[in-house]
Symmetry: C2
Subunit: 122 residues, 2 copies
Amino acid sequence: MPATKVNLADKFATFDEAWRPKVVAQLDDYEVKVVKLDGDFTWHKHEDVDEMFLVTSGSMSIDFRDGSVDLGPGERIVVPRGVEHCPRAKSGCEALLIEKAGVVNTGDAEPSALTAGPLDVI
Amino acid sequence: MPATKVNLADKFATFDEAWRPKVVAQLDDYEVKVVKLDGDFTWHKHEDVDEMFLVTSGSMSIDFRDGSVDLGPGERIVVPRGVEHCPRAKSGCEALLIEKAGVVNTGDAEPSALTAGPLDVI
């Protein structure tokens, strides 16, 4: 068989750590990741890539320099390249991230404990 | 504000027709589409692009030449480029499609009533 299915809930159930995206699909030069969010992330931007968040459970917000967008389950936002943003969420928020392969989660921010190394493919 | 959110359920509620993907997100050279599936599609392949289906409600199957994969809500599959496949579903199935912009839904199959023209961005 040329392809197998993946159940996203099963993948979310395999880890607890927040802000550590895991790759659940690779297609062309793109990746789909699952991520758990908890608390405030860090202000950053991705200079050359757009980034889509799709909340699957819980709720999160994306702060921009001129306002915030609140997202619940089944809601998506595309953060355009070059735009500073800071995600934040209450505990229990799960989301999909869709973006080009190789994107560093903290973008242009100084590397910190929030910076994920090479991502696990799960 | 540099970005606005989109509620996918709201977008699904705006149309009824099956096999007519609508674009709900554009990022880089990629698109995320909503699509309703009903009945048998047509055998086809996409020579140069991978294609991801993520079921959001109902159930669908993807037939390959050597077997089938059944998908329910929260399950995804990536159909590799060049691989013949034929989606089918019972009425009521809704899914996200993630793939490069410009992909024709019927791929290399002879154009037919199932072939979608330029896609609406909703």
